[in-house]
C-alpha cells in the first residue's frame, strides 16, 4: 500500500429537503422559507472560527451533504468555496463533492453547480424502478434518474450515484437485473446500501421489516460478485469504485484523518499531538443558525477522546476499507503500535476463523470479516 498522504476535509451540512424520505434518519428537515443569505453568513462565520486553529492544514476535500445540498443556491456554494480558498491552502487534487437529487428541477442546475466549483457529484438515485422509488418516498421517477445521471456525466468529471437494495420482497434476481441496468450507465463510483430500518423513521414507525440475515447475505454477496466483475470492486463496505475514483473526502473519515463539520448536527475530529478531539454541533437547524450568527459557531460539545476510544474509532472505520489499517498509518495517527494495542488471543481467534488478516504490517478484515464487521469489532475490541 502506498503511504497515505495527510488529508484534511471539510464537511458542510445543508439540513433541508423538499420532502423527508421514510427511511432517512439524517438531520434533514422540510422548511418553506429559507433565507439563503443568513445561512451563508452563518457558514462563513463557523468556517472562520475553525480556520483560526487549523490554518496550517492543507484542505484536500470539501463535501456538501444533507439534507439536499442541491437545493442550495449555487451562489451560496460559490461564496463558501471562495471563503475556504481565502482561509486555507487547498491541495492540487482538491475534491469538491455535492450530493444531489435527480429531480428535473435540480438537474437543470447541474451546470450552475459546476460553475460554482463543484467537481464531483453524488446523486441520490436509490433505484431505477418506479415502484421502488415510490415505496422509498422519492420525488423523482426512474426516467428522471437516468436523465440526471446522463446529464451529470457530461458536466462532471467525477460522478457517483447511490442505490438502495434489499427492499422488502426484493429477490436476488430482481436486484441482479437492477444492478446490471445501473452498470450500463458506466459509472466510476457507486454507493450500494442495504435498506436498514432506523429508529425515528417512518419505516420504523410503520414496522417495515429489513431483509432477514439470509436474504441480506445473498444480496450482499451477489453485489460483491457483480461489482468485482464490472471493475468497480468494493473499496469500502458499501462503496465501489474504479481505481482512483474513490471518494477522497469519505476516505478521510475511514482513514481516521481529521475533518471539520460545519452546519447543524455536523461532527468533526481534530487532532494535535496525538490527542483527538470530538466536536459535535447542535442538531436543530434554527438553534445552530442562531448560535453561529451570534457566537460564531454552533457547537454543542467538544471533548477529547481517550486512547481506547481513538483506537476503536480508527479500527471501526478503517476495517470497513478493503485496504485495511496499516501499522505505519496507525502509528502516524496515534504515535502508538497497532499490534500491542490489540488482544492477541482475540485477534488469533478471528484470524483462525478467516475474518481478519494481519500480514505485512497491515490489519485487514477479509471479505467474510467485512460482511460481519460489527461482530468482528465487538470481539476484537472487547
Amino acid at each position: 500500500m502506498d503511504e497515505i498522504k495527510p488529508a484534511f476535509g471539510i464537511y458542510i451540512h445543508w439540513p433541508f429537503c423538499a420532502k423527508k424520505c421514510p427511511y432517512c434518519d439524517f438531520n434533514s428537515h422540510v422548511q418553506d422559507a429559507i433565507d439563503h443569505d443568513l445561512w451563508l453568513k452563518a457558514y462563513l462565520r463557523e468556517l472562520r472560527y475553525y480556520a483560526a486553529e487549523t490554518s496550517d492544514r492543507l484542505v484536500t476535500s470539501v463535501f456538501f451533504g444533507g439534507g439536499t445540498p442541491s437545493l442550495m443556491k449555487p451562489q451560496v456554494i460559490e461564496d463558501i468555496l471562495a471563503e475556504i480558498g481565502r482561509l486555507w491552502d487547498c491541495s492540487e487534487d482538491f475534491e469538491i463533492t455535492a450530493e444531489a437529487n435527480p429531480s428535473s428541477s435540480e438537474t437543470r442546475l447541474f451546470q450552475d453547480f459546476r460553475q460554482a466549483g463543484i467537481n464531483r457529484l453524488s446523486i441520490g438515485v436509490q433505484s431505477f424502478n418506479d415502484q421502488a422509488l415510490q415505496f422509498l418516498g422519492r420525488l423523482h421517477d426512474a426516467a428522471e434518474a437516468r436523465k440526471a445521471v446522463e446529464s451529470a456525466a457530461k458536466i462532471f468529471d467525477r460522478l457517483s450515484f447511490d442505490l438502495i437494495y434489499a427492499l422488502p420482497g426484493q429477490t436476488p434476481a430482481e436486484w441482479q437485473r437492477a444492478l446490471g441496468e445501473a452498470l450500463t450507465l458506466a459509472p466510476d463510483h457507486l454507493s450500494l446500501y442495504q435498506l436498514t430500518i432506523e429508529p425515528g423513521t417512518v419505516f420504523h414507525q410503520d414496522r417495515v421489516a429489513a431483509a432477514d440475515e439470509d436474504i441480506g447475505t445473498e444480496l450482499y454477496e451477489i453485489t460483491q460478485g457483480l461489482m468485482d466483475h464490472a471493475g468497480l470492486p468494493a473499496y469500502e463496505i458499501s462503496n465501489h469504485a474504479r481505481e482512483t475514483q474513490e471518494s477522497r473526502h469519505n476516505l478521510v473519515y475511514w482513514r481516521g484523518q481529521d475533518y471539520l463539520g460545519i452546519g447543524p448536527g455536523a461532527h468533526g475530529r481534530l487532532t494535535r499531538d496525538f490527542q483527538t478531539e470530538m466536536i459535535q454541533n447542535v442538531r436543530e437547524p434554527g438553534k445552530w443558525l442562531e448560535l453561529a450568527q451570534t457566537k460564531g459557531l454552533g457547537q454543542h460539545k467538544r471533548t477529547p477522546i481517550t486512547a481506547e476510544e481513538r483506537r476503536d474509532e480508527i479500527l471501526l472505520m478503517g476495517l470497513r476499507l478493503t485496504e485495511g489499517v496499516s501499522a505505519d498509518h496507525y502509528h502516524t495517527l496515534t504515535g502508538t503500535d497497532l499490534a500491542s494495542s490489540l488482544d492477541q488471543i482475540r485477534l488469533q481467534a478471528l484470524e483462525n476463523e478467516g475474518f481478519i488478516t494481519f500480514r505485512d504490517n497491515i490489519l485487514k478484515a477479509t471479505p467474510a470479516g467485512r460482511q460481519r464487521l460489527n461482530a468482528v469489532l465487538a470481539h476484537l475490541l472487547s
Binding site: 463496505i237 471501526l316 460481519r372
Partner: protein, 600 residues
C-alpha cells in the same frame, strides 16, 4: 359462655369456583357478621393472590351467631381451609379442628378431583358431611345427575343434599339449619388441663404472630403461660380473641372454641401447624395425634433477572418466610446464572404462589428453574442421602441405587378426553390402579413418579383434555428407579444450572428438547456453537447454532462515528456480563430463558 351443645365447628369442601367463598359470604351476611359496607366480595380470602385465583392459602375462620328455627342461638365456627393438595397436611389440621363439613358441588359441573381428595381427608377426620348442590339457579344445573355422581364416586348418601344458590342467596338458611341439625356438637372437658390444636399461624404487622387454635379441653386465657409441645417453647399470652370475621377480643377460649391468641412470638417458623398447645404449669398428658413437621417435596432455584436484585431477593425471602414457614431456602451460586437461592416447596402450586408473591409484593423480576423432586441416593458405602439439586449429584460410581418419590394421582375427566389422558399417564411411566365411570365422567387413579408431574404434566393434561380434566395427588412413597443426571454442555463446557435428573428412558428426549430450545435462544455469533446433552461422558443429543452470516452497518461516515463507537462500547460492556464458553460469549438471558418454566 355458650354451652358445648350450642357450638358447631365446620369446614367447607369445594373445588375452585364451585362457590365456597360466596357461600361463606352469604352466611356471614345472614348472621349479620359485617355491615354491607364492610362486605367485600369473598371476605375470607384476604390476600390478593387468594382472591384472584380463588384459592385459600392460610386457614381462616369466622364465628357466626345464628338464631335457629328452634328458637335457640348457636355459635357456628367456620374454618376455611387451604383448598389445594400442596397444603393437604394443613387441610387435615384444619379439618381436625372441626366435627363436620359442608361438601359443595357445582350442580352444573359435578365432582372434581380436588373435591374428592378433601372429602377423603374429611372422612379420615371422622366428619359428618352435608352435601350441598350449588348454582341450582343456572340453566345447566343437573341436580339429579350430580347427586348420583356423589353417591357413585364418593359413596356418600346424597338423597338429602341441599339445593342452593349462593349467588342469589337461595337456601342459605337451610344450610345454617343443616349445620345445627346434622353436624355434631364438639366435646371437651372445661376442667381438664389445656389441650389446644395449633391450626395455623401468620404474621400480623401490628400484633406479631397470630395463632389460630381450636381448644379441645381446658381454657386459654390472657396472661396464661402456654407451652408449644413440639418445641417445648413457653410463651405468655398477650391477647385472646375470635374472628367475627373482624378480630374481636374475648376473655378466654374454652372447649370447642375456635379463636386466636398472640404471645409476642416473632416468626411463624417458631410455630408448627398441628402442634398441641398446653398449660405450662399443668400440662396435658398426651399431645393431640397427627402432628408432623412440614417437608418440602419440590425444589427449584430462584434467580433475580437483574443480578443487582440479589440482596433484595434475600430480604424478600426472609420477609415472606415470616408468614410461611413451609418453604425453605438457601443461597446458591451458579456459574451460568450468578447468585440465587435454592428453595424447597410443599408442591408446585406452593412454588408458584411464592414466586408470584415475590414478584408482586416485593416487585422482583425472577427466573425460576425447572422444579426438581427430592431423590434418595443409596450410596455404595451403605449411607443414604437426599438430593435436592441435580448439580449436587455425586459420582455415579459412589451410588448403589436411586429412589424417586411417587404419587397417587386422581384424575377426573369427561369420557371423550379419557383416551388422551390415559396415554399421557402411560407416557409418564404411570401405573393404573383404578378406572371407574360415573355418568359421562371417568375417574382414573394412577401411581406416577412425581418427577414426571413437575416437568410439564399440568400443561399437557390441560391441553389434552381441553381444560376439562381435574387432577389431584398425594405423596405415595419412594421407589427405586433407573435415573440418570443429564448435563448440558455448550462448546464442551458444562452449564451447571441446566443439569437435570431424568428417567433413563426419557433422558434422550428431554436432552434433545433442551438442546433445541437453547439453539433457538442463543443468538447467532461469529463462531459456530455446539450445544450437547450428555450422561456422564456420553453425548445423547446435540444441536448446532450456525455462525452468523452478515452483521455490518451499511452506512458509516464522519457524522456516524461517535454513535457507532458508543454502540460498540455498549456491545463490549454487554460481553463483560456474558459467560464465556471457549471463544464465544453467551448472554445469561439465553440460559435464563431456557430455564423459564411453562413456555415451550
Amino acid at each position: 359462655m355458650t354451652e358445648l351443645t350450642h357450638k358447631r365447628n365446620f369446614a367447607i369442601i369445594a373445588h375452585i369456583d364451585h362457590g365456597k367463598s360466596t357461600l361463606a359470604d352469604r352466611m356471614i351476611e345472614f348472621c349479620g357478621g359485617l355491615t354491607d359496607r364492610e362486605m367485600q366480595e369473598q371476605v375470607l380470602d384476604s390476600m390478593d393472590i387468594e382472591r384472584e385465583r380463588g384459592i385459600t392459602i392460610k386457614a381462616q375462620t369466622v364465628r357466626l351467631t345464628y338464631k335457629a328455627r328452634n328458637g335457640e342461638t348457636y355459635e357456628l365456627n367456620l374454618i376455611d381451609t387451604p383448598g389445594h393438595v400442596d397444603f393437604s397436611y394443613e387441610v387435615s389440621r384444619s379439618l381436625a379442628a372441626c366435627e363436620g363439613s359442608l361438601l359443595i358441588v357445582d350442580s352444573t359441573q359435578g365432582v372434581e378431583a380436588q373435591t374428592l381428595a378433601n372429602v377423603y381427608l374429611a372422612l379420615d377426620a371422622d366428619h359428618e358431611i352435608v352435601p350441598i348442590l350449588n348454582k341450582i339457579d343456572l340453566q345447566a344445573s343437573e341436580p339429579d345427575r350430580i347427586k348420583s355422581q356423589i353417591e357413585d364416586v364418593i359413596g356418600l348418601d346424597a338423597s338429602d343434599a341441599l339445593e342452593i344458590s349462593a349467588k342469589t342467596g337461595l337456601g342459605i338458611e337451610d344450610v345454617l339449619e343443616a349445620i345445627v341439625e346434622r353436624l355434631p356438637a364438639p366435646v371437651g372437658e372445661a376442667a381438664a388441663p389445656l389441650k389446644a390444636l395449633l391450626v395455623d399461624s401468620w404474621y400480623d404487622p401490628y400484633l406479631g404472630v397470630m395463632i389460630l387454635v381450636r381448644v379441645q379441653d381446658g381454657k386459654l386465657a390472657r396472661g396464661m403461660k402456654v407451652k408449644l409441645m413440639s418445641s417445648g417453647e413457653v410463651h405468655q399470652i398477650d391477647q385472646v380473641g375470635v374472628f367475627k370475621p373482624k378480630t374481636t377480643k374475648v376473655d378466654e377460649l374454652g372447649p370447642g372454641d375456635v379463636g386466636y391468641f398472640t404471645a409476642s412470638i416473632k416468626t411463624v417458623a417458631e410455630t408448627n401447624v398441628g402442634d398441641t398447645i398446653t398449660n405450662e404449669k399443668n400440662p396435658t398428658a398426651e399431645p393431640l395425634s397427627g402432628f408432623k413437621p412440614s417437608v418440602p417435596v419440590v425444589f427449584s432455584s430462584l434467580f433475580p433477572t437483574d443480578a443487582a436484585d440479589f440482596e433484595e431477593l434475600r430480604e424478600s425471602l426472609a420477609k415472606l418466610r415470616l408468614n410461611d414457614a413451609s418453604f425453605v431456602y438457601e443461597a446458591e451460586t451458579s456459574a451460568a446464572l450468578g447468585f440465587g437461592f435454592r428453595c424447597g416447596f410443599l408442591g408446585l402450586l406452593h412454588l408458584e404462589i411464592v414466586q408470584e408473591r415475590l414478584e408482586r409484593e416485593f416487585d422482583l423480576d425472577l427466573i425460576t428453574t425447572a422444579p426438581s423432586v427430592v431423590y434418595r441416593l443409596h450410596m455404595t458405602d451403605g449411607s443414604e442421602r437426599e438430593l435436592h439439586n441435580p448439580a449436587d449429584m455425586p459420582e455415579v460410581t459412589q451410588i448403589d441405587y436411586i429412589e424417586e418419590p411417587w404419587i397417587k394421582a386422581t384424575i377426573m375427566v369427561p369420557d371423550e378426553h379419557l383416551g388422551g389422558v390415559l396415554s399421557l399417564c402411560t407416557e409418564r411411566r404411570g401405573d393404573q390402579i383404578e378406572l371407574t365411570y360415573a355418568g359421562n365422567r371417568a375417574m382414573a387413579i394412577y401411581r406416577l413418579p412425581l418427577n414426571e408431574i413437575v416437568f410439564d404434566f399440568y400443561d399437557r393434561l390441560k391441553s389434552t383434555s381441553r381444560g376439562y380434566a381435574s387432577f389431584d395427588y398425594q405423596m405415595d412413597g419412594y421407589k427405586e428407579s433407573d435415573l440418570v443426571k443429564v448435563s448440558i454442555l455448550v462448546n464442551g463446557e458444562l452449564v451447571d444450572a441446566l443439569s437435570f435428573m431424568a428417567h433413563k428412558g426419557q433422558s434422550e428426549f428431554r436432552g434433545r428438547a433442551i438442546c433445541e430450545r437453547l439453539k433457538d435462544l442463543i443468538p447467532r455469533q461469529l463462531f459456530k456453537i455446539a450445544v450437547q446433552a450428555a450422561i456422564g461422558g456420553k453425548i445423547i443429543a446435540r444441536a448446532t447454532i450456525s455462525a452468523m452470516r452478515k452483521d455490518v452497518t451499511a452506512k458509516c461516515y464522519g457524522g456516524d462515528i461517535t454513535r457507532k463507537r458508543k454502540l460498540l462500547e455498549k456491545q463490549k460492556k454487554g460481553k463483560k456480563k456474558m459467560r464465556q464458553f471457549g471463544q464465544v460469549e453467551i448472554p445469561q438471558s439465553a440460559f435464563l430463558a431456557a430455564l423459564k418454566m411453562g413456555d415451550d
